[in-house]
Amino acid sequence: MTSPTPTALPALDAAKLREDFPILHQQVNGHPLVYLDSGATSQRPLPVLDAERDFLEHANAAVHRGAHTLAAEATELFEDARATVAGFVGARPEHLVWTSGATMGLNLVAYSIGNASAGAGAPASARLALRPGDEIVTTAIEHHANLLPWQELAARTGAVLRHIPAHDDGTLDMDAAADLIGQRTRIVAFTHVSNVLGIVNPAADLVALARRVGALTVMDACQSAPHLPLDLPALGVDLAVFSGHKMLGPYGVGGLYGRSDVLEAMPPFLTGGSMITTVTLERAEYLPPPQRFEAGTQPIGPAIGLAAAVRYLDAVGLDRIHAHEGMLAERMRAGLAEIPGIRLLGDAPGAERVGLWSFDVEGVHAHDAGQFLDARGIAVRVGHHCAAPLHARYGVTASVRASTALHNTLDDVDALLDAASGIRPYFGV
């Protein structure tokens, strides 16, 4: 484990943070809830719940389109939220497009490029256009959200989709990547952290490979944004997405980060109100980014909630969160590896990780294993976690995933380990 442990900082006090999360204080099936499913959706601390509610009780109004006092106040709060969330990933407000979530952000990018390929957009859009034979490179470990939009884009444009393979230990095969990313490559789309493996991928190296051939980089930051310090401009990716609900924020909001020149070149995707300069019955002209990509009423309350969420994360400190969750992951690995019949997916020695492990229980289906854990109040996810090809790679259809957040304690991990050791005995295998 090479997670940076900033010794200068005192470790975070997860037991204390827990108090901010109302949902954690309940019994499930007669046991205290141990929530190890933040990888699916995170729980919300009080400051997030309160920020959205305060807004709705005192300042709610549609933004950007009104002169009345509430509308002006709401617009300021909404644009402040943009600046806050952009700042959280090291970016400027004009580089952050609101979306409804990461899936939407990735579809936005793929469809916009599809539209450019069909001749839409400004002259600058031509450089994004795909032609038959052009290549889109993604990886063998992606969430469906960062795979299917590219399959569809390839089908629409005649581009070819290729995949960077993974080693057995879950790390990407960077030699293969260097071979795959070539002159025909126009887009390199990869996840920063896989939602199954938890390994932090070498984003900077992938960006360097893509830059060498002038390909656009698209990074899925869903599973890294809430868990480690992120500076997207420094990382050099062209575009990146994240989801509010996975980073202590509300449902229904997410972010698409983009470099100016890239966003500038992208034709609109969704069309409708608030993204135009002029409209006649026959045609419309569109605003510059980010508004160009924000058709219709935006998720105003959720955006304000997400700003509160990143302020909360920032106040705790992403370095400390990363170190804390790394420590939990370490303990989890050590414990799980000792349980007979449990196989960890992506157990790469020394890899930088977030606090997440997926595993297979020999002879017991993931659903049954998850049910057993749930009976002890432990909430884990079971299934293919929207990464079916990755599971096929490991010869399984489903796995059990335990994923942590800043509020998880070593007690939570120990509860998991204790229960997990009982799975195979219970099912008599």
């Binding site: 289906h365 659903h367 049954d368 049910q371 057993f372 009976a375 259809t397 489903a398 099912f427 008599g428």
Partner: protein
Amino acid sequence: MSDLDALYRELILDHWKHPQHFGLAEEQADSGHSGTSHQRNPVCGDEITLRAFVDGETVTDVQWEGRGCSISQASASMLSDLVAEEGLSRAETVTLIEGFREALRSRGQLELDEDVYGDAAALSGVSKFSARVKCAMLAWVALEDAIAKA
């Protein structure tokens, strides 16, 4: 009995470990007398291929193959036992499936009658676990489909 034990009855674990009517005989590819259905649970990737043999109006045999959780496997095994041994008619089988669906969707309100459902009555406990209802239903949906095709 804990909730978990009410779900994973002895009988269920038995069928899971010793699935009945498992295996599709290769030589008996679909004829006018049989229908095959493939069903899949998209959440977990579990799947089943089930073949029903029908003679006139009578369901004479059921064979299946598949992979999945203990509930889905046991359910397929119990269902095959039940239908193959009783020599039910198409109509009776459809009624049986409907009754099973209703009980499983009842959120613990309805119990399956052991006289009618045999070993499969042990699946009553699943209805309290809404996320597992699909697992138990998989084979039954497949049989419904296979009969319609036969």
